[in-house]
Amino acid sequence: MAAIFQGVGAAAALSSSPSNSFDTKKLLCSPRRSFSARKGASFVVVRSDGSVNFDLNHKGRRAQQLITNAVATKADSSAAASSSKPGHELLLFEALREGLEEEMERDATVCVMGEDVGHYGGSYKVTKGLAEKFGDLRVLDTPIAENSFTGMGIGAAMTGLRPVVEGMNMGFLLLAFNQISNNCGMLHYTSGGQFKIPIVIRGPGGVGRQLGAEHSQRLESYFQSIPGIQMVACSTPYNAKGLMKAAIRSENPVILFEHVLLYNLKERIPDEDYICNLEEAEMVRPGEHVTILTYSRMRYHVMQAAKTLVNKGYDPEVIDIRSLKPFDLYTIGNSVKKTHRVLIVEECMRTGGIGASLTAAITENFHDYLDAPIICLSSQDVPTPYAGPLEEWTVVQPAQIVTAVEQLCQ
């Protein structure tokens, strides 16, 4: 089963317009899908073997009538990509690469280490071409030894280098947990401020396409208690590039969570240099009735559900929290004060996930403003199964989000 996102109608128009809608570089077996994020356009269903398919009657899920611009946030949004608009279009992994490349050009102490980042170009092509450009000493292929190369990255960071450590899959970083927790997070404190650890640890995580339990882990919840680190999750090419740059420039250790399924999102991003604040949340869609807090891939499920909700007459405010540690309680708080109802939609597990912490934080700080208990929709507390329909039901689906909002707004 390949389809996560469904669309109707204008799908055909969209798929034909940009001639480079699929990456011209050879994509190996990775699934391909084309998106224009946040502009209220339609989605194309692409199967994992690369063929485009417009079959929508999957497993009894009802096809939704798409209303374009239903979730528009800007007045000038339009689905068509026109060359007269400023900026350039690229896919999310290209945005990450652009951010990384710009920072490496700007600062000679930035280096990348990880498995297959150099000659192979990165398993998700985020570092493709960088080894040829910057050399083997700055883009380092490591053996499969997460514990030690993460430790080495931290040791190098202690002297002033700015390594970007890539975990091929976030789940593999569990092997480096000791280094990340004790050395990365705590050294600035236990040395009384003598050492800074300006390291960036990044990698794709989350539930993918039937990758199995061990390759579908969400490590945000395991790392969130580590004092001294910052965690951010990117969700669009714009914020991916911005967060990557900010993370590299930050003096603190930052863990950048990417998502396996979002690498091929396409968006137009500005040409000029920009960064995204590491601790700020992103207002995706302002609204009045309910605050929906989400991050990473669930943002797209939420936007999907938002379309349905708008049709039903609700006006959800969608915030992509982006900063998983620390939470941007300012933006979240203002939203809660406006809408008085909160729904958290996340991909983490129910137990001890980001949503659980966020629920606690909101309750502690904004209890008086809440008209209803916070609903937190998370993944089920199970290892991610391989079978397609089971995997689908491990994560939160748009229909569940719609039901939850209806329940909240009663």
Partner: protein, 394 residues
């Protein structure tokens, strides 16, 4: 007794003819005499996949006396820490280094402050060797503000960035990948400096060590892994923990050298050799055969897994300070009385430092929240009001 012969540049005719008068003649110049001398180490080096360094070590009277003084200071400091711990002024874990001083002192003599040292939790003397002061040591041990980590690290977290001492790590073995990272940074910046990553015989069985060694060998990093083999990993003897206790050979394709770790001169020679080797050929392992008199930490009496006879036997035969004392006396570099005076001086220094450290205040409650993050990148927001979170403590 080790064979010794003095270089010919000495102005004395023969050291054996008029010991008293020449000793009196010498006394005025002992502290600054840098006349080179060559002393042979008592135990030969054994090597794995590399050449052994020469057994003749270049040194000078000044250096030997410095060794003596430094080691006496370290010994006194550790014993004073023992008493402070028993007086409940030092809490938590306290791992003492007495017996192993020759490793710290010998290593410092072979390298500069630009070379990096990283070690595990038995770091008080290594910190001192890197230029730390007694006040910083005792304040940190007692958790006071003047400590090297502002009281927030404790015994296991001594750091001194300006002299490239990277700590001070509590988790066994975790410092070795960090050390290889330091070596990587040195190679990256083309510094021509090396990193000494120290670990114990207990950590020698950690997987991350071999991972880091593999990467260091692949990338030709100037990393020197030093195994301070005191033969006991906490309570487990090395023969019960390692199938192959020849730690200098465990690197397989990485050359190794086994050194008598109770002989400061042998340590110095080995470190010098290792530094040259690492800068040219990549990583090398040094195994320092040493011994600790105390238990693993203050909560370990140290006698349940080894006999008191063994401990006192090593103390009689191989004690590093006694060895240097005998060397100094044999070469008439100082008299017995002078050495005793040095020890008294050292004792007073330690007592003064402790008294001063006791006066040092506890850290302020606001220090609980400082240094968790580094401030200062661009627009930052903390807390619900976009202001810094400040908690008021009772």
């Amino acid at each position: 007794m080790a064979l010794s012969h003095l270089a010919s540049s000495s102005s004395r005719s023969s050291p054996l003819l008029k010991p008293l008068s020449s000793a009196i003649f010498l006394r005025r110049s002992i502290s600054t005499d840098t006349t080179p001398m060559t002393i042979e180490t008592s135990v030969p080096f054994t090597s794995h996949q590399c050449d052994t360094p020469s057994r003749s070590v270049e040194t000078s009277p000044n250096e030997l006396l410095t060794f003596f003084r430094d080691m006496a200071l370290m010994r006194r400091m550790e014993i004073a820490a023992d008493s402070l711990y028993k007086a409940k002024l030092i809490r938590g874990f306290c791992h003492l280094y007495d017996g192993q001083e020759a490793v710290a002192v010998g290593m410092e003599a072979a390298i500069t402050k630009k070379d990096c040292i990283i070690t595990a939790y038995r770091d008080h003397c290594t910190f001192l060797g890197r230029g730390g002061t007694l006040l910083e040591v005792f304040s940190e041990l007692m958790g006071r503000k003047d400590g090297c980590s502002r009281g927030k690290g404790g015994s296991m977290h001594f750091y001194k960035k300006d002299s490239n001492f990277y700590g001070g790590h509590g988790i066994v073995g975790a410092q070795v990948p960090l050390g290889c990272g330091l070596a990587f940074a040195q190679k990256y910046s083309k510094d021509e400096t090396v990193t000494f990553a120290l670990y114990g015989d207990g950590a020698a069985n950690q997987g991350q060590l071999f991972e880091a060694l593999n990467i260091s060998a692949l990338w030709d990093l100037p990393a020197i892994l030093v195994c301070e083999n005191n033969h006991y990993g906490m309570g487990t003897a090395e023969w019960r923990a390692a199938k192959s206790p020849a730690y200098y050979k465990r690197g397989d394709y990485v050359p190794g050298l086994k050194v008598d770790g109770m002989d400061a001169l042998a340590v110095k020679q080995a470190c010098k050799f290792a530094k040259e080797h690492a800068l040219k050929n990549g990583p090398i392992i040094l195994e320092m055969d040493t011994y600790r008199y105390h238990g693993h930490s203050m909560s370990d009496p140290g006698s349940t897994y080894r006999t008191r006879d063994e401990i006192s036997g090593v103390r009689q035969e191989r004690d590093p300070i006694e060895r240097i004392r005998k060397l100094i006396l044999a070469h008439d570099l100082a008299t017995e009385k002078e050495l005793k005076d040095i020890e008294k001086e050292v004792r007073k220094e330690v007592d003064d430092a402790i008294a001063q450290a006791k006066e040092s205040p506890m850290p302020d409650s606001s220090e609980l929240f400082t240094n968790v993050f580094v401030k200062g990148y661009g627009a930052e927001s903390f807390g619900a009001d976009r202001k810094e979170v400040r908690a008021t403590l009772p």
